[in-house]
């Protein structure tokens, strides 16, 4: 018991240290503004990857239009800061805008989820693909939001500290969800949906719930992104962007928090390093997706987790895993 308290204190300390570090890096000028920007992209991509991993990795469905939810979050948050708060209140208005972005994306996902989860299988891929395209062309045709020229006027409210805080929140919430009754229900849908329903899991409700949580965080990522680049246009949220998120999920590893962090980090940095290739670097993402699907479809950390992201109560069982399997196949 005593050591448990100590350990949870250590976790809190680690999180606080990260926060202090992000603050220091942001303010001290230790790194160039270019590197700072990349760090923030990494953070935003971690949130996007984790959120898509819920649906595609943990639940085993195939959603391919995640950028659509990001767009909803980005536009909604920008509307809130620019039109509602008229760029007043500074960073005080920012959490409200981010939550509004997340909520808008979550609400939109409900419209997509309810009809598409009435059927089974590949329909979700088709519906989400169509959704991504619809969002993009809607935004292109709404003059008030700038149409194809895009929406601007946001202050640069996003900084490394905000990105860090939201990454931490996302990891915390998603971890808690995964290791709960609802999370286990989500995993059982991936394993065998029919059996899941027949051992009392309300699969329909669970699928909608997972989809909504996933979209919420995509919206949050969109909100952070919009207030980092201070200019968003519909083209930013095309299928291309959705593909990038898919690559990060399948690179890092499905059904893994650590894998999502790894995938988002490696891919974001890699694309930066490939900048000299010009347009050709956009071939890398789709190509990687194809190669990954063929060679290692579950990704680097596929279905495995770094113990640090497993709640303490669940760890005991995970540690024993190796020995128990050996016993089982004796």
């Amino acid at each position: 018991m005593h050591s448990d308290v100590l350990k949870s204190k250590r976790t809190l300390l680690l999180i606080a240290a990260g926060l202090a570090l992000s603050f220091l890096v942001e303010r001290s000028g230790l790194v160039s503004s270019y590197v700072l920007q990349i760090l923030m992209y990494v953070g935003i991509n971690i949130i996007l990857t984790l959120s898509l991993n819920l649906v595609n990795g943990y639940m085993g469905e195939f959603s391919v239009g995640h950028a659509g939810f990001m767009a909803v979050g980005a536009y909604m948050a920008s509307i809130v800061t620019v039109w509602v708060f008229r760029n007043s209140l500074g960073w005080l208005a920012f959490p409200v805008a981010i939550l509004a972005g997340g909520a808008a994306a979550a609400g939109t996902s409900l419209i997509v989820a309810i009809p598409s989860f009435r059927t089974r299988g590949d329909y979700l891929a088709i519906v989400t693909l169509a959704f991504n395209m619809i969002v993009k062309s809607l935004l292109e045709n709404i003059e008030a939001l700038g149409g194809p020229r895009g929406f601007l006027g946001m202050n640069r409210l996003t900084n490394l500290v905000w990105v860090y805080v939201w990454c931490a929140i996302t990891i915390y919430i998603i971890r808690n969800f995964v290791y709960s009754n609802y999370g286990r229900a989500m995993l059982s849908i991936r394993e065998d949906e029919v059996a899941s329903n027949l051992v009392s899991v309300n699969t329909r409700q669970t699928k909608v719930l997972v989809f909504v949580i996933s979209a919420f965080f995509a919206g949050v990522a969109g909100a952070l992104f919009a207030h980092l680049v201070q200019f968003i246009n519909p083209r930013t949220f095309s299928i291309q962007k959705s593909t990038d998120i898919l690559v990060m999920v399948y690179l890092g590893g499905i059904g893994s928090i650590f894998g999502s962090i790894l995938g988002a980090t490696v891919y974001t940095v890699l694309l930066e390093l490939l900048r000299p290739l010009g347009v050709w670097r956009w071939v890398v993402g789709p190509l990687m997706l194809v190669v990954l699907m063929i060679t290692r479809p579950t990704g680097i950390m596929g279905l495995r987790e770094f113990l640090g992201f497993v709640p303490r109560e669940e760890r005991a069982e995970r540690r024993k895993e190796g020995t128990a399997i050996a016993a089982a196949s004796r």
């Binding site: 394993e191 029919v194 059996a195 051992v199």
Partner: protein, 255 residues
């Protein structure tokens, strides 16, 4: 009043009549068998009772409450659990998680409580874990708790499937060919297990079986299906000597 009442249950797949006018009254504590040749519609009856398919016609009542049109998960929560003809475990998940998922409808905390790991969440999770371990202990599976289900030997997988079904606290257990793929020795053990299950958990059991010695050995009453029609119903002895059954089903073995 019967625990489970099925009346004139009829189901069509397109133009094919898979089950027609199936009637069943299952009383508390009974063990009833459903036999018949391949493709007779036995598993379809299970699928209709558990809401996988919605029957074309007919009525299914548990404790006087209508089940037709309900979702499978609600039917299971009301007290009808089942296993499958071919094992359908959550293969990549741990043995413990397989059983904990069976407890899904019993952990009553909100999504919010789960997302922020509130007090009620922790208490209920602890209870679910304890109950799951108890079940595993009962089935002699607790030493495998953290192994993935797919790593278990075949017989243990069958037992785990039953443990998972019992996690939802059922009144009725539907067993779909529990002896499939077992040798005579294992079948003897299975028969003991079923009898013990019935007493230990106060269950009413309805089982599908292919092998005559299983149904004859354990069922108090047997229904025989052929091409979706109930051609006979009675005690094992009556079934053994029924000419229609012999013709449709046992005939091949008797000759």
């Amino acid at each position: 009043m019967p625990l489970l009442h099925v009346e004139q249950l009829t189901h069509y797949f397109g133009g094919l009549r898979a089950v027609s006018d199936f009637n069943l009254d299952l009383h508390e504590g009974e063990v009833v068998g459903l036999i018949g040749p391949n493709g007779a519609g036995k598993t379809t009856v299970f699928n209709l009772i558990t809401g996988v398919y919605r029957p074309t016609r007919g009525r299914i009542q548990l404790d006087g409450k209508d089940l037709v049109g309900m979702q499978s998960c609600d039917i299971v929560s009301m007290g009808i659990a089942r296993t499958f003809q071919t094992i359908r475990l959550f293969r990549e998940l741990s043995v413990l998680d397989n059983v904990r998922i069976g407890h899904f409808s019993q952990a009553r905390y909100s999504v919010g409580a789960a997302l922020f790991r509130s007090g009620p969440f922790r208490r209920q999770e602890e209870r679910v874990r304890e109950r799951a371990y108890e079940l595993l202990e009962t089935f002699n599976l607790s030493r495998y708790a953290s192994s993935p289900a797919k790593a278990l030997p075949y017989g243990e997988q069958r037992r785990l499937e039953i443990a998972r079904a019992l996690a939802s606290n059922p009144k009725i257990l539907l067993l779909d060919e529990p002896a499939a793929g077992m040798n005579p020795n294992e079948i003897d053990r299975l028969l003991e297990t079923i009898a013990w299950l019935k007493d230990r958990f106060g269950l009413t059991i309805f089982l599908i079986e292919h092998q005559m010695r299983v149904v004859m050995g354990i069922c108090e009453r047997i229904l025989v299906l052929d091409f979706g029609e109930t051609i006979a119903e009675g005690t094992p002895d009556e079934i053994r000597t029924n000419p229609r059954v012999l013709e449709a089903y046992l005939g091949k073995e008797a000759s």
